[in-house]
Structure formats: C-alpha cells, structure tokens
C-alpha cells in the first residue's frame, strides 16, 4: 500500500509524471472521501476485519460519547448545577424552547424534546468526528443520513396517526378551501412533497459533509500537481476551509433538527 512518490518513480517524461500524479490522487487522496475499510495514511494501513467498515466503528463511538456525556451531566451534584450539568441543562432548555415547543405546541413539544436533543447531539458528534485526523465522517455516507431521515419520517407519520387519528392525518393532504376538481391533482403533490421533504433532509446533510471533505482533498491535490511551491497558497486556504467546515458541521446539525421539528409541526398542526 505504500506509494512513495518520487523515490522510485523518477520519470523524465512530463506527461508520464502527470499520469502518475493523477493516479496517486485518485487512489490515495480521494479515497478519504469514499467508504473505506481502514484509517489510512499513505504509509499506514491498519486492516479492520473484513466485514467491518470504518463508518460502522465511528457510529457506536458517537453513541458511547453521547451516553457518557448525558449520564455524567444528569447526576445531581448540588441544588444549583455547575459545570457540565449546567451546560447540558442550558442545551436542553434551548432545544425545548426554541425548537421543540415553538414548532410542536406545548404537550408534544415536551414529549419530543428528548428526541431532538439526541438527534442534534448525535449528528453534531458525527460531523465533528469527520474533522479529527484519523476518523471518517459517518454522515458523509448517504446510508447513515438515509437512516436518520427514515427514522424522522416514520416518527412524524406515526405520531400524527397516534395523536390525531388516521382521518386527521389524511386530511393534512387536503388544504382547506380547494375546489373539488383540483383534488386529484393536489393530493398526490402533497403526498410527494412530504416524502421529498424527508429526502431533502437526507441529501442536504450528506452533500454538505461530503462536499466539505472533497473540497479540501481537491485543494490538497493541487499541491501534488504543482510541486511543493504551491504550499504557500494552499496551506492558509486549507486551514480556512477547515474552520469553515467546522462551522458548517454545527450549522447542518442544527438545520437538520430544526427542519425535523418544523416538518413534524406542519404534520401535527396544519396551518389553517
């Protein structure tokens, strides 16, 4: 697996060099952006078991982190909480007031505030793990975001049917005040729009995470194409892009949670 560029492959033909650089980029640099089976640096290959993919190692790690933080923060030390308990309480109050109760109403808001807390923390920790050097971005894998969107979809539809009954759920697809002739056209559009909103949640998170990584890897590939002198321009740019990707990680987790709450609120309480 080690590919030491330049040592054994001294070529004088410039076009051949271009080919070798391209092959190196495709095989080693851009491999960070696809599903891979090992944490890879060019000189290190730690093989996992055959049936294990690296994203499947990151996902339980995020769950363990979440459970640890929540368990430590939920212990009552003193009447007035300090430290981690205080921060966690501020976080839960923020989600309860701004995201859950504001969109779902008071009673369902209190029911679902734990779901939104978990969702936000989970997506946030998965996004942040992608920026740590030897880890992979689990949310950059479309299967992970598809699972998250499916969970939201089943939860939203199931809650509407459970709390409002099947008739009211079917009535959300019929906006009030439409003439009868337009109904065969409008109801499929409404049904499709519900499905497409969940798919949009999935693709938004996936594409944002993947695009950030591909951008950084492409610009690092510029260093390989033009030799080491390009590092002067590339290094500050890559640092800036990394910080921007950190901001996007937080923002996309917040957007996923917020839009889940908004869409669930639209299903539960259709605007009159």
């Amino acid at each position: 697996m080690a590919f030491r560029f330049g040592a054994k492959h001294q070529v004088d033909d410039p076009s051949k060099r271009q080919e070798l650089v391209q092959e190196f980029i495709n095989s080693h640099v851009l491999r960070h952006a696809s599903d891979h089976h090992s944490p890879n640096l060019p000189f290190l290959h730690v093989p996992l078991l055959d049936w294990l993919r690296y994203d499947w190692v990151i996902l339980p790690l995020a769950v363990v982190l979440m459970v640890t933080v929540a368990t430590i923060a939920a212990r009552r030390h003193k009447p007035v909480p300090t430290g981690l308990s205080n921060a966690f309480e501020a976080y839960v109050v923020f989600i309860r007031d701004q995201i859950s109760v504001a969109n779902l109403g008071h009673e369902e808001g209190l029911l679902f505030t734990s779901y939104f807390c978990t969702l936000f923390f989970f997506i946030f920790s998965l996004n942040i793990f992608g920026l740590v050097p030897l880890c992979s971005t689990a949310t950059g894998n479309i299967n992970v975001t598809c699972a998250l969107a499916l969970i939201f979809f089943v939860l939203a539809v199931g809650t509407t049917i459970w709390r409002r009954g099947l008739i009211r759920f079917l009535k959300t697809f019929v906006p009030p005040g439409t003439p009868w002739l337009l109904l065969p056209l409008l109801v499929p559009i409404e049904v499709i729009s519900l499905v497409v909103r969940s798919a949009a949640l999935m693709i938004r998170l996936f594409a944002n995470m993947l695009a950030g990584h591909i951008l950084i890897l492409t610009i690092v590939g510029l260093v390989l194409i033009f030799s080491w002198y390009a590092l002067i321009l590339v290094l500050p740019l890559v640092v800036a892009l990394f910080l921007f990707e950190l901001f996007i990680a937080i923002l996309q987790a917040y957007i996923f949670t917020l839009l889940s709450a908004v869409f669930m609120g639209l299903l539960l309480n259709p605007e009159h």
Binding site: I203, R204, N208, A211, L251, Y254, I255, L258, L259
Partner: protein
C-alpha cells in the same frame, strides 16, 4: 480554435458551476432582505436569524441536489 470533445466530466463540472450561481443568488437575496429588515427594527434580530438560517439551508439544499446529481 477548435472545441475539444466534451465528455461527461466536463458537463458535470459545468452543471455544478451553474448550481453554485443559483445558490449564490438565492442566499444573497435572503440575507440582503434580512439585513434590511434588521436595520429597520433591530429588536427582531433573534427571530430573523432563525428564519434566515432556515431559508439559507433550504436554498443550499436545492443547490446540493444539483451537485449530487452532477457527481453521478
């Protein structure tokens, strides 16, 4: 000057660039109007920030659909 033969990769890059134009215009419109209304009534800042972020995420979602299709 002859036009080089267009391959799939060239057209994909062109499509992604066009999607970026749409995203730029959309986000610029949202935040421009948001800044104007913040200048008129600064006490509405928290509510407007939430709406602006939601709008920006939706617009970027559409642009990213186009980019994901271009990648295939």
């Amino acid at each position: 000057m002859t036009i080089p033969p267009l391959s799939d990769l060239h057209l994909a890059a062109l499509g992604a660039g066009l999607a970026a134009i749409g995203a730029g215009i959309g986000i610029g419109l949202i935040w421009g109007n948001g800044l104007q209304s913040i200048a008129r009534q600064p006490e509405l800042l928290p509510k407007l920030q939430v709406s602006m972020f939601i709008g920006a995420a939706l617009v970027e979602g559409v642009a990213l659909f186009a980019i994901v299709i271009c990648m295939k």
